[in-house]
């Protein structure tokens, strides 16, 4: 089926070569980082994780969100998702690919990354994170490919696919829970040391991932003959709405605990992020942008009349995605390091090479996504009108 990615319109190839160009620039920049070390990033002794790990965390959520399509379709037989579910699975593949790359570019000694498997360490959450992420990537490639292949041949997927699909549901929850556990079990990092971290991660994932999927589905419909279905998009819109409400609620719970207890360790990171601490306020504009966009998206989503208008839904999804990207892909990580273990403030801001590498990892993700979607859309265009159940 992969051959379908090798034939396409001029627009398709322009997009592919544009992405390859971005990847190329990023690769050259990465070689510089590989040679000179992570010193070329904005990371420091005090803020030792930054943009790379933030993107990783955010994208694990995007990957996990495929389950929001898989559950209604496979467990509740919600037929309207029959066409779009493959887009969710392939989005997960692309997102996990980016996660792995972000971890790779964050390593000080990337050539030793296999040490994690050569010296398996069950007491390390990071070991488990690599296990569940690798497994999830495999599951989604196999499931997506097998169901699409069956569609192409006009048959039912093989019997062994069903158990894998069921397995992928708790597995999706596990990848984001384990990722939250990376942070939520560290003594002394008060901002992260919260039992609600995994729940908050899942809520933000189930809002941000499907929001991205709506945007992608609208793009696919605009540029191809493949229609994921108006009702399917509206149904995902409802999922996004509930998940975003839960996410904002969980964030407010965190803020209440910090603000009402007034325990310095708990309040300081919030003060730093939203108001600035000891005269340092670099993240304040970003965090308020995130808050305002979250409110905008909720207003647009909560009223059904607004949500039913697809342009408004698209606007809501874009606001929501950017809001969560700032909150989780940046603020959440930096807030854990500021103030540092000595109650001193060291600020962080990504450097140009770091930003270029980050953008190019996203370009790899879009490249993978474009190729997979091209295959899926081509197959679906061929079999258009043939409804299949599986």
């Amino acid at each position: 089926m992969l051959e379908k990615a090798l034939v396409g319109s001029k627009r398709y190839w322009t997009w592919i070569f544009f992405l390859l160009g971005v990847v190329g620039i990023g690769f050259i920049t990465y070689l510089q980082q590989f040679k000179l070390g992570l010193g070329i990033t904005g990371l420091s002794r005090d803020v030792s994780w930054g943009l790379y790990i933030g993107q990783f965390t955010f994208l694990v959520g995007v990957a996990a969100s495929a389950v929001m399509l898989v559950i209604p379709y496979y467990l509740h037989d919600f037929k309207k998702f029959s066409k779009i579910v493959i887009l969710g699975e392939f989005l997960a593949v692309s997102a996990v690919t980016m996660c792995i790359l972000f971890i790779f570019v964050d390593m000080g000694q990337p050539m030793r990354i296999m040490n994690v498997m050569l010296h398996p360490t069950p007491n390390s959450v990071m070991f488990w994170d690599s296990v569940v992420l690798g497994g999830y990537l495999g599951l989604n490639i196999i499931i997506g490919w097998a169901t699409l292949h069956a569609d192409k041949k006009g048959t039912m997927p093989a019997a062994w696919v069903k158990p894998l699909i069921y397995l992928s549901i708790p597995w999706a929850v596990s990848i984001h829970t384990v990722t939250a556990f990376l942070y939520a079990g560290l003594p002394g990092r008060h901002f992260w040391l919260s039992a609600i971290m995994a729940a908050r991660f899942l809520a933000s994932a189930f809002a941000g991932g499907p929001a991205l999927l709506i945007i992608l589905a609208l793009i696919v419909r605009k540029f191809t003959k493949f229609d994921p279905g108006k009702e399917a998009i509206q149904a995902i819109g409802k999922i996004v709405t509930y998940a975003m409400i839960a996410n904002v609620f969980f964030l407010l719970l965190e803020i209440f605990t910090a603000a009402y207890s007034t325990i310095p360790g708990h309040t300081h990171p919030f003060k730093y992020l939203y108001f600035g601490l000891e005269g340092h306020a670099r993240l304040v504009p970003l965090m308020w942008t995130s808050s305002i966009l979250a409110i905008v998206s909720l207003v647009l989503l909560i009223f059904p009349a607004i949500r039913r208008n697809e342009s408004m839904l698209a606007l809501a999804c874009i606001s929501l995605f950017v809001s969560l990207w700032i909150d989780k892909g940046f603020g959440l990580i930096i807030g854990g390091f500021v103030p540092n273990m000595f109650e001193k403030v060291t600020e962080y801001w990504p450097t140009l090479p770091e930003t270029i590498i980050t953008i190019s990892v996203w370009a790899v993700g879009f490249l993978v996504l474009t190729i997979l979607y091209k295959v899926a859309v081509s197959v679906r265009e061929e079999t258009a009108g043939v409804e299949l159940e599986h």
């Binding site: 992570l38 002794r45 994780w49 010296h119 854990g336």
Partner: protein, 271 residues
């Protein structure tokens, strides 16, 4: 028994997974330590090495400098001259930064701003060891929290996990930043984490850690599990505190505070 290609691949695949899983599970949890191979007569043994920092004996800037320099010189600790890439094994910081939350507005000025000697606490329950995904950071049988720079993948999870800010990362090539390289001790490479090792290389030769030797009695070192050790005698006779003990990491570095005598004797100076 005949077998088609499909069946063969199935069995071969499952066997490979089985053997792989078996190999991983069969690996023993306890490894021999490198130090066990070079034990000599002088080799100093302990169940848990510990240190007592007597802040009463740190008076001048020179008292701090000689301790820090002794360590950083022999261990080839680079000096980049900027806080972003900074690498330090032992350093000093004020009471309010060393013991955040313990300071009060009205404590004696000389104590609030007095620099404390800080280093890795070699915790009995170290979070850095718990989080390391490759066992590059590990607990030795003598209680030293040690790291293997050749196994470290540079993920910096240990830096996020350490509540004491004891760990530094080689953001740049350290070699050009070492002023007087000590050929007796290895330098580190780019992209790995490092910290104080309680001078395990000196303990193996029967010597005290370099900072202890240079401290003129301000730093005491010994086996905390031995009731007759020097550190235990000091802990018996003095009120000591540890950094962030409430986190349950069980730090092995204790501090005797320098309480101004005028405060102890109720206003009268008997110094």
């Amino acid at each position: 028994m005949s077998m088609d290609r499909r069946q063969f691949l199935k069995i071969a695949g499952l066997s490979t997974i089985g053997i792989g899983a078996g190999w991983i599970l069969s690996r023993p949890g306890e490894f021999l330590e490198a130090s066990q191979f070079l034990q000599t007569k002088e080799f100093l043994k302990a169940k848990q090495w510990a240190m007592v920092v007597d802040m009463r004996k740190f008076k001048t800037e020179e008292d701090y400098k000689k301790v820090i320099d002794a360590c950083h010189k022999i261990h080839n600790v680079p000096d980049f001259g900027n806080p972003k890439d900074e690498i330090k094994w032992i350093w000093s910081d004020t009471f309010e930064h060393a013991f955040p939350g313990q300071e009060s507005e009205f404590m004696p000025e000389q104590m609030k701003h007095k620099p404390f000697v800080l280093l890795c606490n070699h915790c009995e329950n170290p979070p850095c060891v718990r989080v390391c995904p490759t066992k590059a950071t590990f607990k030795r049988k003598d209680g030293i929290t040690m790291q293997d720079p050749h196994r470290c993948i540079g993920c910096r999870y240990c830096m996020a996990a350490c509540p004491f800010g004891a760990r530094s990362f080689n953001y740049r090539d350290p070699k050009p930043a070492i002023k007087e390289p000590n050929p007796e001790y290895p330098t580190r490479m780019i992209g790995v984490v490092e910290k104080c090792t309680f001078c395990e290389e000196r303990l193996a030769k029967g010597q005290m850690p370099a900072c202890v030797e240079a401290s003129n009695g301000a730093l005491a070192f010994g086996d905390i599990s031995d009731p007759n050790s020097e550190v235990r005698k000091i802990l018996n006779a003095n009120y000591t505190i540890r950094r962030k003990a409430e986190l349950g990491t069980r730090p092995s570095v204790y501090y005797i505070l320098d309480i101004p005598t005028s405060v102890v004797s109720g206003g009268e100076s008997n110094a």
